[in-house]
């Protein structure tokens, strides 16, 4: 479902939100499937999981950590935060595709989803920018550029370190796409339905 059929974005804000949220939910499901695919291989290996879990590189972005916090953030600020969160995954997704190629049982499943998420993220960014443009034109361009600590290249790294890094990256992707989807649903109710969904 294109965000703006035929480039025409003159649609009510509610419909724009509905289309963007359909996309953010789809992206979340893709990343959740990707994580589940990967987690199957390590679910029983507590040591591996203990070592794999480390900070998500986007944790430098001050995203609200719960409902009350998210409701305190002005909508236009939250929309710009979402833009940053989505933007910050452009390079890591591309990197993931090259890193996983041929080295994992689940690599085909991960690669196809990573590519699809990369594509859909572009449309999601477009949709969020349309929402900003329609609802908060003065706030457009205030995106907070996350200093995306370049995911260390995994070329030449030993196998276990590489697998640990890939696991944590996919885990963080699922978490961030869940945040994006959740924030957008909160904003829809707040901006379009006056907190009465």
């Amino acid at each position: 479902l294109p965000i703006c059929p035929g480039g025409n974005c003159q649609m009510p804000l509610q419909e724009l939100f509905d289309r963007v949220i359909m996309l953010s939910h789809y992206i979340y499901m893709l990343s959740a499937d990707m994580f589940i695919e990967l987690d199957k291989q390590y679910a029983q290996d507590h040591e591996f999981i203990a070592k794999a879990i480390s900070d998500c590189p986007t944790s430098s972005l001050a995203t609200p950590e719960g409902k009350e916090e998210a409701q305190q953030v002005p909508p236009e600020v939250l929309l710009n935060l979402i833009l940053s969160l989505v933007h910050s995954w452009n390079d890591p997704l591309f990197q993931l595709v090259t890193e996983v190629d041929g080295i994992h049982e689940a690599s085909d499943a991960i690669i196809s989803r990573a590519k699809e998420i990369g594509e859909q993220n572009k449309r999601l960014l477009e949709g969020i920018e349309k929402i900003l443009g329609q609802a908060y034109p003065e706030a457009k361009g205030n995106e907070i550029y996350s200093v995306w600590s370049q995911f260390p290249s995994l070329q030449g790294v030993d196998e276990e370190s590489r697998d640990l890094a890939i696991y944590n990256k996919v885990r963080c992707l699922r978490r961030d796409s869940h945040k994006v989807d959740n924030y957008l649903k909160l904003l829809r109710c707040r901006v379009v339905h006056n907190n009465n969904c």
Binding site: H25, Y28, A32, H46, I49, A50, I53, D55, S59, E65, G66, K67, Q71, R175, H178, K179, D181, N182, K185, L186, L187, R188, C189, R190, H193, N195, N196, C197
Partner: protein, 210 residues
């Protein structure tokens, strides 16, 4: 007499994405009085905490109220069993409350036989979201299923209603009694159990009241 067997954390669930509970199986007690404690640490923190509330969710459980619950954060949870002869600890469980959401079932299931203008009879089914989930602000986006079956049927007929909290069923047999249930699922979580069953009989000669 021996040290206690290894306990096992068998489930953690959140009904509302704002609190959560974990339950464990105690394992053998070695023939001695055995104490159980649940400890946890949170992603990005070094400190270990003990369960804040062993009572609210019943025996062999730990309840984390809003104050102790963060989402998008991994909890590393362990249960420890101790008696006079020694102690043992469960395998750690890695939990992010985001992904363990299982709501209560919907409530206020209401059934009514109605008729369209063209006299076509249908069963009008209506329900409400579970009380403790915050659907209004969008923190929770809920989807629903209903199922119904006639008194003689063995199989339920199930319908997914998306985010709608009402549903129409046509082509029911006059004189038949029908049973109906609903359940719900958050956009990122588990289906609730089926809610309270309700029933209604389709009248033989249904005529609209004026």
């Amino acid at each position: 007499q021996s040290p206690p067997g290894k306990p096992e954390i068998h489930k953690c669930r959140s009904p509302d994405k704002e609190t959560f509970t974990c339950w464990w199986n105690p394992g053998t007690d070695g023939g001695l009085p055995t104490n159980y404690s649940l400890t946890y640490s949170k992603e990005g923190e070094k400190t270990t905490h003990e369960c804040p509330d062993y009572k609210t969710s019943g025996p062999n459980s730990c309840f984390f109220s809003k104050q102790y619950t963060s989402i998008w954060k991994i909890y590393v949870i362990t249960v420890n069993a101790t008696n006079q002869m020694g102690s043992s600890a469960s395998d750690p469980l890695y939990v992010d409350v985001t992904y363990i959401v299982e709501p209560e079932p919907p409530r206020n299931l209401t059934l009514e036989v109605k008729q369209l203008k063209d006299k076509k009879t249908y069963l009008w089914i209506k329900w409400s979201p579970p009380t403790i989930t915050d659907v209004k602000t969008g923190w929770f986006t809920m989807e629903y299923e209903i199922r119904l079956k006639s008194e003689e049927a063995d199989e339920w007929e199930t319908h997914f209603t998306g985010q709608q909290t009402h549903f129409k069923v046509f082509d029911l047999y006059p004189g038949q009694k029908y049973f109906v249930q609903t359940r719900c699922k958050p956009d990122h979580g588990y289906w609730s159990r089926w809610g309270q069953e309700n029933s209604i009989e389709i009248p033989n000669d249904f005529t609209l009241k004026n």
